[in-house]
Amino acid sequence: MSQTLSRPKVQPWSQSSVASVRPLILASVLPAVFAALVGLLANLDFSVALLVIFVPLQALAAGFVGFKTYGKRGLKDAVLIFVTIFFSMMVMVLLTSVLVSVAVAGFSAMSPQFLSQNNVYVSPTTSLEYGGVGHAILGTLLIVILTTIAAVPLGIAMAVFLTQSNAKHKGIVRTVTQALSGLPSVVSGLFILAIMGFVGIERSGLTGALALFPLMLPTVARVAEESLRLVPSDLRLAALALGAPNYKAFFQVILPAAKSGIITALLLGLARIIGETAPLILTINANNSTNLNPFAEGIATLPTYIYGFLSSGYSTSQARAWGAALVLLLLVALLFGAARIMTRQKSLKTKSTKKAK
């Protein structure tokens, strides 16, 4: 996957000595030290010191070292490397900030009863010893499983169409599916609301599951298509050549070979919808007690729980929102980890078969 752009050295045979590394170390330490000193002495703001003093200085230093070592060409290269690292660091800092703040603030709300109790008799100012997200975890799982039952078979069938059939309009189907995967979640909720208005269905867990369906389907179809594409076509052709009809070739040869990929599609589809908030707010009534009947009454879910408590603005309610966010992120991480393990097993398998050849 990664192609390294090895920089041509001036003298490929020369050993790197302390003397040749010294400017590199100096160039990476001096600007930071200088910016910190100036920032402290002039009592500058951190972000100002970073952007106005450190960044230009560091770019200058990198450019200087590049120029000294490789000439004119090295100047641009060094600045490019610095800019790349700077912007990627920004991404890292933002992501780390999200994860760390959820972990820290969420952990302080965490306790066994927070995971098991429900929200009956809990107001936004009730202390954290009472009440929890137990009902919301169950509700989220219930709704997500309902969506999965509908979306996964259909998504796999779409993927089969895109990989096995020789229909002419495959390209359009693929484009529309990809365009659907960018469907705004609030539109999906409004769509189900419009249907409910015409047919006359009450708001319940089922309508929430329906509102998540258009969001999960394209993800499952795309990932399943990729995994089916990875199965060598020799396998399918061999099965067909032995006289197997297409459906037997699929169920007995291709599906077993792509099993882990299909499970990955399921897991990534789940991760896609488990945190969706807007469609659920539009189509489900909130509920403080545990409700496991998807056909009647409101159901609590983790995203709507976070939404509700964050909207009420007290510090205890915010703490509850952080706790629920941590639970939600752990669920997402669990799904992701499982998907990772699945794909790793797959790659190991293909490696070992290659070796056997």
Binding site: M158, S165, V173, L180, G182, V187, A271, G275
Partner: protein
């Protein structure tokens, strides 16, 4: 035998290869899969039809002013005036800020992953970016409201005090709070779209013909020359597709923006630090709870607007991405 040899054309016709599904099982199998595939079209059509039918009365009564007007009065009893202009402009504004902030970060991260990191670290970084894409938008909203807003308000204050002479960073009101502005919402959108642009760009970078790159290196090109003369010209289209996918996501972003932006029908053309802004999707969610039946039709029309816009943007984006990945291959 002889007759067949004498008449090769008849022989050819008889031995014509039949590649279609022959057995009944196959016909059922392909029938089901093509039904499922056509469901993608059905779904798009259903969404369009249902939203349009529910929104029709509102669209009819408001006319074109629904798109460009800037009043939203929908109280019980009175004749509702529903004009979405400031929200639509706000969505465009926030998406623009988000893309302006997010694209350099995303392209730099993709470049770092593909061309600078050793392969094991690259794998870790890829996982991290994918995980970032899976962060639920309500969690980003929570973080944006409690953790990020104070930081960004501080940046906004510095921007306003040093570059306030520039109209974009000016603030009209006295004692500004620097929060709830399109500037902060743009940052939040950037956090949401960086992983999308990164993964598309990474895909395209990693499918680059390494012969081209090695050839350029052999000719004495440095990193910068390889990037500007080889990598960017070949992958420009794909990066544009990724940016468009990000744009689609930015327009549809709902919950996260709702927390960090003050929705206002007092249109804010360019003063991005003012606590006035708009976002169509967030507005739908914000008004939904207390909407009258007539206003509800207006919200459906708003949903129709973002659906049509995102569908067009996403279709163009996926066409571009598909074409450029194929060409690079």
């Amino acid at each position: 035998m002889e007759s067949e040899l004498a008449n090769p054309k008849a022989n050819q016709a008889r031995r014509k290869l039949n590649v279609g599904p022959r057995s009944r099982g196959d016909r059922v199998f392909f029938g089901i899969t093509s039904l499922a595939a056509n469901f993608a079209f059905v779904l798009v059509a259903l969404i369009l039809v249902f939203l349009m039918v529910s929104a029709w009365p509102a669209l009819q009564s408001q006319g074109l002013a629904f798109i460009y007007g800037s009043t939203w009065v929908a109280d019980e009893g009175a004749e509702p005036i529903m004009q979405l202009g400031p929200m639509i402009w706000g969505s465009i504004q926030i998406a623009f800020i988000g893309i302006l902030l997010g694209t350099p970060m995303a392209v730099a991260t993709a470049y770092l992953i593909v061309f600078m990191l050793p392969s094991r670290a690259a794998k870790v970084a890829t996982t991290v970016v994918d995980l970032m894409a899976a962060l639920p938008s309500v969690v980003i909203g929570l973080w944006g409201l409690i953790v990020f807003t104070p930081v960004a308000a501080h940046w906004a204050q510095i921007l306003n005090q040093t570059l306030g002479w520039f109209p974009v960073f000016a603030i009209e009101g006295e004692q500004p709070t620097y929060v709830d502005s399109p500037f902060i919402a743009g940052w939040i959108v950037a956090v949401m779209i960086v992983p999308i642009i990164t993964s598309v760009t990474r895909e395209i970078f990693s499918q680059m013909d390494s012969g081209l790159i090695n050839g350029a290196l052999a000719l004495g090109a440095g990193r910068w020359a390889v990037l500007s003369r080889v990598i960017l010209p070949t992958s420009r289209g794909g990066i544009l597709g990724g940016v468009l996918l990000g744009l689609g996501r930015a327009i549809g972003e709902t919950v996260a923006i709702l927390y960090v932006l003050q929705l206002s029908f007092d249109i804010n053309w360019y003063q991005i630090l003012e606590p006035r802004g708009g976002a169509v999707a967030s507005f739908i969610l914000a008004r939904f709870g207390e909407a009258t039946p007539l206003e509800f039709q207006g919200l459906m029309a708003a949903g129709l607007v973002i659906f049509v816009v995102t569908l067009i943007v996403n279709t163009i984006a996926s066409l571009i991405v598909n074409r450029s990945t194929r060409r690079v291959k």
